[in-house]
């Protein structure tokens, strides 16, 4: 199995370009991770200013996506990468798409956090948000970690966590429905929380995609839709 490495190209500039998009991707991953954490905190702590910050900073994530995308296109045009280099560049273009979508979902969560902070009510549903939030934040962190080390085993392990996230999402839905039936006054609030857990579930899917891409880049095996 060929090892992943960006070194030893005859054109050392090419090494640097690949290393550069890797670094940029890690930075983007870090930023998205932070956005996600802040958005969850904003919901749980009813912190609307934190939520506003998440909303404002989503633009930075978008800019990062555009920059990395451009760098990838340049590499393809200039270097015609092959084999592991090609898989890596293609993976990056897909990974930044997933990261950007996670950024979107974090912004949506932040939007709901603002609305929730203006609503009175009990803290019902926060337990579910915290639980799911922890799970998907963990998945995202592990996925980025696996990417940094091109660690297929870690990626596979993280990928499998998505099934649990889906189950937790379903049980969170049931809980929320129960709250709504118990007290119709909570419906408006519960629906906002429902959107939040929905976003968290989507983020789990995107983290899973990232893991699949890590497997592809290292092993050359496409494990999507299996």
């Amino acid at each position: 199995m060929p090892k992943m490495s960006f070194e030893n190209h005859i054109m050392t500039q090419f090494d640097e370009e690949l290393e550069e998009i890797r670094t940029q991707l890690m930075e983007m991953g870090g930023k998205v991770e932070q956005q996600l954490k802040n958005s969850i905190q904003a919901v749980i702590k009813a912190d609307s200013s934190l939520a506003e910050m998440v909303i404002k900073e989503e633009r930075l994530v978008d800019e990062m996506e555009v920059d990395i995308d451009e760098a990838c296109i340049l590499i393809i045009a200039r270097r015609q990468p092959a084999a592991s280099d090609l898989r890596f560049v293609m993976m990056v273009t897909k990974a930044i798409n997933d990261l950007e979508r996670i950024g979107d979902e974090a912004r949506k969560i932040a939007n709901h956090a603002v609305i929730l902070s203006e609503q009175d009510g009990l803290s019902q549903g926060y337990k579910e948000v915290r639980h799911l939030g922890d799970s998907v934040s963990g998945m995202l962190a592990n996925a980025l970690d696996a990417f940094a080390r091109f660690d297929v085993d870690a990626a596979m392990k993280t990928l499998e966590e998505d099934a649990q996230v889906d189950l937790d999402y379903k049980s969170a839905l049931r809980e929320l429905v129960t709250y709504m039936m118990e007290d119709p006054r909570s419906i408006s609030r519960a629906i906002n929380i429902l959107w939040v857990v929905r976003s968290l579930e989507r983020i789990g899917d995107h983290a899973k995609n990232l893991c699949e891409q890590i497997v592809y880049v290292v092993k050359g095996k496409d494990i999507r839709h299996q």
Binding site: S5, E7, N8, H9, I10, A83
Partner: protein, 288 residues
């Protein structure tokens, strides 16, 4: 001894893991899909020597009918030598010795009292530099069919010339000046003229030794398109330094390294997920 040389060459950077991996794989036999059912040509344990020096080591591979197989590898890896052994072009090189079997439709082309001229009509060759005869365009094409007795009449010959030029995609450009010298054509046209000349004797296999390396991108694209069309009727083995070209035109790609056949696999596999570390290093531009 060769291994030791590679080790010395590749161990320059002690930090690098990938180069050390290259040495481990050196002892490895050919990986991938070497053989096929109903091969047009079959090579078995082919060794080629130039005097004492061994240029090709134990190469066994099949070429399927109507297949385009690309041979790639760093300079001096033996890919051209191997290609030339497929129609005994090496016979003309002093001190060159070929061992093993090269079968064309099951018959060994190195058997004694085989007519080499006839062999080369069946297995034609196109070279790196276009080398038209210093004669008219018409004569360039007509020469082969004439000496092989393929044309009974002038009309036959005209037809062969026209068809060959059409197949080589050159007819429209030269039909008005068939009796002008072939050397007056542009480089790309000359190369297509040479391909037309190879086709004119109705070969079964066409060997191409870097057919585009002296051509500009447009002429190269024309030849590449031609290769695709020719593969409908002919079996083609092409040696190329351009990996993108191998990726574009071939069905299978064979990677040679220091006289050994390292990997043969479907082209799409070789350029996305090569099986061998050496192939990977070469096609990603890590040495060559």
């Amino acid at each position: 001894m060769k291994e030791a040389k590679v080790a010395a060459k590749t161990a320059k950077d002690p930090k690098s893991t990938s180069r050390q991996d290259l040495e481990v794989d050196k002892a490895q036999a050919t990986v991938g899909n070497r053989f096929c059912e109903n091969p047009k040509m079959s090579m078995r344990d082919v060794n080629v020597f130039y005097g004492e020096k061994q240029a090709i080591q134990d190469v066994s591979v099949d070429i399927a009918k109507n297949e385009v197989i690309a041979m790639i590898g760093p300079s001096g890896c033996g890919k051209s030598t191997f290609l030339r052994s497929l129609n005994r072009m090496n016979d003309t090189v002093d001190g060159c010795r070929v061992e093993g079997e090269v079968l064309l439709d099951g018959d060994n082309i190195y058997q004694q009292n085989l007519d080499v001229v006839e062999l080369r009509a069946r297995v034609g060759m196109v070279f790196q530099k276009p080398n038209p005869f210093p004669k008219s365009i018409f004569e360039n094409i007509a020469y082969g069919p004439k000496i092989h007795g393929l044309a009974d009449s002038r009309v036959d010959l005209d037809e062969i010339v026209e068809n060959s030029l059409k197949k080589a995609g050159l007819w429209e450009e030269v039909k008005e000046r068939l009796h002008q010298p072939g050397t007056g054509l542009s480089g790309g046209q000359q190369q297509r003229l040479c391909i037309a000349r190879a086709i004119a004797v109705s070969p079964e296999v066409i060997l191409m030794d870097e057919p585009c390396s002296a051509l500009d991108p447009i002429a190269t694209a024309r030849i590449e398109e031609l290769i695709e069309e020719l593969s409908q009727n002919f079996t083609i083995a092409i040696v190329t330094h351009s990996m993108q070209q191998a990726a574009r035109v071939s069905h299978r790609t064979a990677y040679f390294h220091l006289g050994k056949l390292i990997e043969v696999n479907p082209t799409e596999r070789v350029f996305t997920m090569p099986e061998n570390q050496l192939t990977e290093a070469y096609i990603t531009g890590r040495f060559g």
